[in-house]
């Protein structure tokens, strides 16, 4: 077991080194003491290397760190989408959550949320094993249209489109969070109903519309 404090450090290392391409981080940047407990744990468990005063992630360290980041961002999704929390509160609670969601539980939550690919702030959620074998049979609370069964109903939870034009296209049709939606068909194209209109879209758009299912 890695301590909570160390997990926080790993998270920071992952974000800054893997995502923001920094070379390494110093003790001060990581807000840890030289020879302190985190310092010792990081090196003892071979999670990081320390070279010229800079911490760098090892292979194992990166795997662990990626996992922490994934759990954090999944927790954020869970809090915003399912518990309807907003703002700073989400981040702080997510920080606590990430330590509780141990392996297995994070996969369950990922399934529940329809394997989201970005956190509510738009940064990527590292992919888990479950995302590769995602399926319609999962227990889902929220799911992208691509994982909704024809005949199922729900409310649009959020739209996640990295591409501005695509987002504009979806919004312009009046497909916005909070609207009732039901999927009618998923082949050869996705056919769904919002309000009193039906829309046909391809997989490219369907995968970005996340629906909170109503049983």
């Amino acid at each position: 077991m890695i301590s909570q404090k160390t997990e926080e450090v790993l998270e920071k290392l992952y974000i800054e080194i893997v995502e923001q391409m920094k070379k390494g981080l110093t003790h001060t940047a990581l807000k840890i003491k030289e020879e302190g407990p985190e310092h010792t744990e990081l090196l003892k468990k071979k999670l990081t290397l320390l070279k010229d005063g800079l911490f760098k992630l090892t292979k194992e360290g990166e795997v662990e760190a990626r996992d922490v980041v994934r759990r954090h961002r999944l927790a954020e999704r869970l809090l915003t989408d399912v518990f309807d929390m907003k703002g700073v509160c989400v981040h702080d609670s997510a920080c606590e959550f990430e330590h509780i969601l141990h392996r297995g539980i994070d996969e369950q939550i990922c399934r529940l949320l329809g394997h989201p690919t970005t956190c509510p702030h738009g940064t990527k959620i590292p992919e888990g094993k479950c995302c590769k074998e995602k399926g319609i049979k999962d227990v889902r609370v929220i799911a992208p249209l691509t994982l909704v069964k024809p005949g199922e109903k729900g409310k649009i939870s959020y739209i996640q489109a990295e591409d501005k034009n695509k987002l504009q296209t979806i919004m312009a049709m009046g497909i916005l969070p909070g609207m009732d939606i039901s999927l009618l068909q998923n082949f050869p194209s996705y056919l769904f109903k919002v309000g009193n209109s039906q829309f046909a879209v391809d997989e490219n758009i369907a995968k970005d519309v996340y629906v909170r299912l109503i049983k």
């Binding site: 739209i159 034009n165 296209t169 919002v194």
Partner: protein, 639 residues
């Protein structure tokens, strides 16, 4: 004094053109699919003795345009300084469409709101209180059933009585930070909102007008963007939707209930995998083969040509001309082989017109029922392989009627790449109805050749599509389309629409036909024709075609259907073997688009691109003919 302008605007497929037609008494095409109107139509209306100019715009979902025609529509609204903007919306979808009304109001435009298609809304149990809506929105509101003429007198009255009221630019209040930006910005509420939504056109325009201020504004927006996790345009759309829903709640709008109707079941059938393809087959078989092929190209052409022209027009005219004009050369201008009457008018009226008319009629039925978006949904997966989205099925099917019209309709496609591929395929592998009709008539007794021809054309169509999607750079297209309810076509609209298209076609075609006749006559007498024929003969002979098809291909350059009609003539005179028929119609189908289509290509895609496409088409068509002939020869196949 300038004439007061009325602009009709709104979401796609809500009946704007119906209202335009009712106000002006003219005819803009009305159909049941989003994107029927791709151009701006202008007409005049007289209301209470006052003259107005009425402008019909292509449908748009919001002020931030996604497709070309949305851009056109928006620019009209911004640049024309309208007396009123009539916003037409589909009453059953008021919740989804009201945000656009709010956009118009917040842009400070003089809006009249028309809740159209009330009959369908009422069937769903939706009740709308226009009085309360008027109070909430601060603009005149009325209900209408455009296709039945209901509510139009009321609309005219509201236009005549329209008085500019206090502006309600603040009808939607956005997040405090956004409002602060708008307050501070020197560009006004509308432009500032568009800036926040990162509208590239407005950004460019403002940068040009006032560079320093625009730069500051853009920097502020970058700062704002960092404060939110969602794109600003998303926040704005959301808040507008919330405002719209709140207004509807206050105005006591009953949102209605769901009903599973018979039409809904049929609709689903047209979009299911098996049912869909079966219905497509029925549409093609009865619509194209039986109605256009057998009735149009068979019965009608036979009657007009044999009975009307050959028996009742040509003999007396020839007789008259031969007596009135003593010179052979002058006689030839009107009659004999390349005469205006014997060639030009006969081809135009007896062969082409009945075919085109029947096609347009079938197409009108397909359009008005709302079948096209369903077909688009079915075919999207296949079209994606060719770099097109399902939406492109509309210009493609229309291209089976008239390639020129269809080239214009490629505007509804959302990327440049898609428009280019669609233009190429229309020029290359989509035969127009006149051609198709003639080909059907030629092949009606020759099912094997018909089958081979179909295969060859489809292979070329798919190969050309797949290759161009591989070669051309750019993102793959995204498919989205609103699927309107299936509706019963209104018979009067079918006839008016067919008539209007025929009129357009005649105006377009007849002069070309006559000019071609005269040109052929002149060429014939100046020995130019003989020279041209000799030039074209050689490549044609390598395709195994007889020398006299040269004339037909030369005419075919002016109009493909003209050439096809010439082939038809030759076949009936027994001048072609079956192998030659196959090769000739393959080349003719793939060959250069007619002059009108070429002009449209230049207009829509610019000269260089159009010429490049033409070059590709010429090479491919002859190459395909060569390959077919080569295979037939090698295997010593005689069809």
């Amino acid at each position: 004094m300038e004439v007061k302008k009325i602009i009709i605007a709104g979401n796609p497929n809500v009946g704007k053109s119906v209202i335009f037609n009712a106000l002006t008494g003219s005819y803009a095409t009305v159909s049941n699919y989003p994107g029927t109107t791709v151009e701006v139509f202008r007409g005049n209306a007289r209301i209470n003795g006052q003259e107005y100019e009425v402008i019909d715009t292509p449908g748009m979902y919001s002020f931030v345009p996604v497709t070309e025609e949305e851009r056109v529509a928006r620019n009209i609204i911004f640049s024309e300084k309208p007396f009123v903007v009539v916003h037409v919306l589909d009453a059953k979808n008021i919740e989804r469409m009201l945000p656009f009304t709010l956009q118009l109001i917040e842009a400070g435009l003089p809006v009249i709101l028309v809740l159209n298609i009330m009959d369908e809304a009422e069937r769903l149990g939706i009740k709308l209180n226009t009085k309360l809506l008027e109070e909430e929105l601060g603009v005149p509101v009325l209900t209408a059933i455009g296709t039945m003429g209901q509510g139009l007198a009321n609309l005219k009255g509201k236009i005549a009585d329209y008085k500019t009221t206090e502006s309600r630019k603040y009808i939607v209040r956005y997040e405090p930070r956004l409002e602060e930006f708008i307050e501070k910005s020197p560009f006004g509420r509308l432009n500032s909102l568009l800036l926040l939504q990162e509208d590239t056109e407005i950004v460019a325009k403002l940068l040009e007008e006032n560079k320093p201020a625009a730069k500051i504004a853009l920097k502020d927006i970058e700062e704002l963007k960092k404060k939110y996790s969602k794109p600003l345009s998303y926040l704005i759309a959301l808040e507008r939707q919330v405002a719209a829903s709140a207004i509807l709640d206050k105005a006591g709008v009953n949102k209605g209930r769901q009903m599973g109707s018979f039409a809904e079941r049929v609709s689903r059938l047209t979009m299911s995998t098996f049912g869909g393809y079966f219905i497509l087959f029925l549409v093609l078989y009865f619509g194209l083969y039986e109605f256009v092929g057998k009735l149009g190209a068979g019965v009608f052409v036979d009657f007009l040509e044999k009975t009307v022209f050959d028996r009742n027009i040509i003999p007396p005219v020839t007789n008259f001309i031969e007596h009135a004009l003593p010179w052979r050369i002058a006689q030839d201008l009107f009659v004999h082989e390349y005469g205006l009457v014997t060639l030009g008018l006969r081809y135009a009226f007896a062969i082409i017109l009945p075919i085109v008319a029947t096609f347009f009629f079938v197409f009108a039925i397909i359009e008005d029922t709302g079948y096209l978006p369903r077909l688009a949904m079915l075919i999207d997966r296949v079209f994606k392989k060719m770099g097109l989205s399902g939406r492109a099925v509309i210009p493609m099917v229309l291209g089976l009627g008239c390639g020129t019209m269809a080239t214009m309709v490629t505007r509804t496609l959302s990327t440049k790449r898609e428009r280019l591929i669609a233009t190429l395929l229309l020029a290359l592998a989509i035969p127009c109805s006149a051609q198709l009709g003639v080909i059907m008539a030629m092949l009606s007794g020759l099912p094997v050749i018909l089958a081979i021809w179909l295969v060859v054309i489809n292979v070329v169509f798919i190969t050309a599509g797949v290759l161009s999607s591989k070669i051309l750079p750019g993102e793959p297209p995204v498919f989205f389309m609103e699927v309107p309810p299936l509706r019963f076509p209104k018979i009067s609209n079918l006839f008016v629409k067919t008539y209007t298209r025929m009129e357009w076609y005649i105006k377009e075609v007849i002069p070309v036909f006559l000019i071609v006749s005269v040109a052929m006559w002149a060429a014939d007498h100046s020995h130019l024709l003989a020279f041209l024929i000799r030039t074209v003969e050689y490549p044609l002979k390598t395709l195994g075609l007889p020398g006299n098809t040269a004339t037909i291909f030369i005419m075919g350059f002016f109009r493909r259907d003209y050439g096809a009609a010439g082939l038809f003539d030759m076949q009936r005179a027994g001048l072609l073997t079956h192998n030659q028929i196959l090769v000739a119609i393959v080349v003719m189908t793939l060959f250069l688009p007619c002059i009108a289509q070429l002009i449209m290509m230049i207009k829509e895609r610019k000269l260089g691109t159009a010429l490049a496409l033409t070059g590709v088409v010429t090479v491919v068509s002859f190459a395909a003919g060569f390959v077919v002939n080569f295979i037939l020869n090698i295997f010593k196949i005689t069809l």
